[in-house]
Symmetry: C2
Subunit: 436 residues, 2 copies
């Protein structure tokens, strides 16, 4: 391309919003992407890389010259750079960090330490802080100098001589304050912060409750380590919601719409095979009642109905329990109260459905005892299934397992087994009445 064309490309392309630049960039084949790198400065490419799909970023950095790639990473928001580096091969990460300028390298090495899904892993260290002893004028000067690199300039954090976080001041208040006041006089000391090891979901919750645009992250001695900005929280919320939803359906949360059928099948199969073997337990249980069944074949008709109702109520209770734990609602109200409530709910839904089905079956099959058998089974199944749906995630939580793993299919299969035992147990016990 002639120089003139390069200028024209730059003029048009850089006019786009970075998100749109990234969208255009991602549609290009490798040769065109390589041309784009050669036309843009590391700073300009960094803005694109902050907006591309993280899954693909590894590929892009590999096709850049290493020195250029390191410069791009150094120019990116440290938290975004770290997100990308975490997906890369460790040797590649080390080589990029070695040729990077020291300041950026140190920051990235520091952030790479934090465990995934903690507040530390989503924070950035590019925040503005001032001393409580500064004047508003000094703070404004400092803020102006830091502005180009800072993730947000809308909050300035105030630290004491030990670098402990003691206050916060919004740009709004900084602007309206008199220039020679002390920061300690105009700051708010009503600080809300998260600990660096806290779950990212906790940070999202705080941000949502308090309507902040940024949240300081502190260590156990209240030293400020970084900030989490609201744009990262939007991504966390999307990610967590996706995860919960996928798990309820028994899909690996790493499954993407863009996966090939083969990749999808490979991701779903472990679940399905596990459930297949759980299903074999149900099958072998029923096979023990073969003689009961050959006497009264009609009993088989109600197997899917009873199992299905158990599965459905269990999933309902599970969903309420998992969401309740995610929102902190259950912690507030107490677990026992929640279990009690679910038990009562199961009794009421069980009673209603049991009565309806007793009447329907009694009329359809012209057999009151068969109706009572199915109705009684539904009643018992609904109570137990509802309780299981509520208690299993609570137990998992207590055992430090993420309760969202107790997916719908898992609970459904457990409840299938329980309901079959109830149904055939009752049927065998009251065989005489049914066949009379």
């Amino acid at each position: 391309l002639a120089n003139q064309q390069i200028d024209q490309f730059r003029a048009e392309y850089l006019e786009l919003h970075p998100y749109d630049q990234a969208a255009v960039f991602e549609e290009q084949p490798e040769e065109v992407r390589k041309q784009i790198y050669s036309y843009l400065s590391p700073e300009e490419t960094a803005e694109i890389m902050e907006n591309v799909d993280q899954e693909n970023a590894d590929e892009y950095f590999t096709e850049m010259y290493s020195r250029y790639a390191a410069q791009v990473l150094a120019e990116m928001s440290a938290d975004d750079a770290v997100d990308i580096l975490k997906e890369m091969d460790k040797n590649k990460v080390a080589s990029f960090i070695t040729i990077m300028e020291k300041e950026a390298a140190d920051e990235i090495k520091h952030l790479l330490h934090y465990e995934d899904k903690t507040a530390g892993s989503i924070m950035t260290t590019e925040f503005v802080s001032v001393s409580a002893a500064d004047t508003v004028r000094e703070a404004m000067l400092h803020l102006r100098a830091e502005a180009p690199d800072a993730e947000t300039i809308y909050y300035t954090y105030v630290v004491d001589i030990d670098k402990k976080l003691v206050g916060v001041i919004s740009l709004r208040n900084l602007i309206i304050a008199e220039k020679d006041w002390l920061i300690s006089e105009v700051m708010s000391d009503r600080i809300v912060s998260v600990a660096v090891g806290d779950d990212q979901e906790h940070a999202a919750q705080m941000m949502r409750d308090y309507d902040f645009l940024a949240l300081p992250v502190v260590d156990f001695q209240d030293h400020i380590l970084g900030i989490i900005t609201v744009d990262d929280i939007l991504d966390v919320m999307e990610e967590e919601a996706d995860e919960d939803y996928s798990r309820l359906a028994g899909v690996s949360d790493t499954e993407k719409g863009e996966d090939s059928a083969f990749v999808s099948a490979r991701k779903r199969l472990p679940w399905l095979v596990a459930l297949l073997f759980l299903g074999m337990i149900t099958a072998s249980l029923i096979s023990r009642f073969e003689s009961t069944l050959s006497q009264v074949a009609i009993l088989a008709s109600f197997i899917p109905l009873i199992g299905g109702m158990g599965g459905n109520t269990g999933t309902q209770a599970l969903a309420v329990a998992v969401r309740g734990m995610a929102t902190g609602d259950i912690a507030k109200r107490g677990k026992m109260r929640m279990v009690l409530r679910e038990g009562l709910t199961g009794m009421m839904t069980g009673l209603s459905c049991g009565i309806v089905i007793t009447i329907v079956v009694a009329i359809w099959q012209n057999n009151v005892y068969l109706g009572l058998l199915v109705g009684l089974s539904i009643f018992a199944t609904l109570i137990i299934a509802t309780l299981a749906g509520a208690i299993i995630p609570l137990l998992m939580h207590k055992m430090k397992i993420d309760p969202a793993i107790a997916s719908g299919p898992f609970i459904t299969t457990i409840n299938d087994i329980i309901s079959i035992l109830i149904y055939f147990g009752l049927a065998t016990a009251f065989m005489g009445l049914i066949t009379q």
Copy 2:
């Protein structure tokens, strides 16, 4: 309480963050709440009301004196006030609006018009706008005057003489600009906006993609009507995630952890009764195969296994489809491609599970034909169930029904019926082989 005590209460209570003020407030009984109103100005109470649970707000406003309640509503962010008013009895709303000062009343009446869950329903009209012909100095003066009432001062929107949105300028850029430049020279004309009738989920998507703190809302002629701020988007995302999750589990999305067991049962029952009747269809289908069953009672053992696998794969496909539509992924890649992919995935999972179960059953029951029957049924069920899970939400989307309504239990029950028909159809056809 003596005056001194009131002062002390005010000093301590107002020192808290509004979110914490609200939390304390909500724990008090009615008499204490009424005392709190009498100690606080309408502006102070407004801050609390912006942070209380919207479900309870109706009660609080009813226990205030009407004139005080109207003042509190007028002092609140217009979008928050409208959210509360939408939950109230229409007569009560009218009476509050009548005694409210005109400017606030007009704004609220205007916002009350927008349909639920649209961009219009979550926007606020309290934004700062300037003319493109203003100087930076004039804009700063205007911004400072508007600041106390504005929802955000971090973006100023630029309009032309027809009030059309032509640009935006961030506070960051306003501060560093020369004071006598024209706004039209320093603003960005790269505007991203949403239409007032757009779905709130669309606004959330844009906010997340572009990392904005606020998003302008325009009518069909590009006149700016309001802005949506990121704190409201956090609530929208939580709400939408809750809704999708709850529906997948077949729980009404209005169910809350704080509901009593009776209320919960009443909310879950419609689903359960509907599924009970769908289950009766399955039962009556199986009853037609009563003679097949009484010949080979062991067939009944595999009913839950086959139905369960159909339900599980259907729910997996459903979850991927619903999330894919929510994130816009499917729109981008095409529906046919997605259906094709799911069909292939179903074939691969069906083939794998079918082979496994054929071998297991053939050995367990020492009957190759029975193994083949179960394996073949699983194979066919998994293909059809996966396709059903993908196609049903797509069809619902086409028919303008929210596909998230196609909840897990619904898909599970449909797939139960399909799988039973396949299984008993094959069993009846090959009866001779199995019983030999």
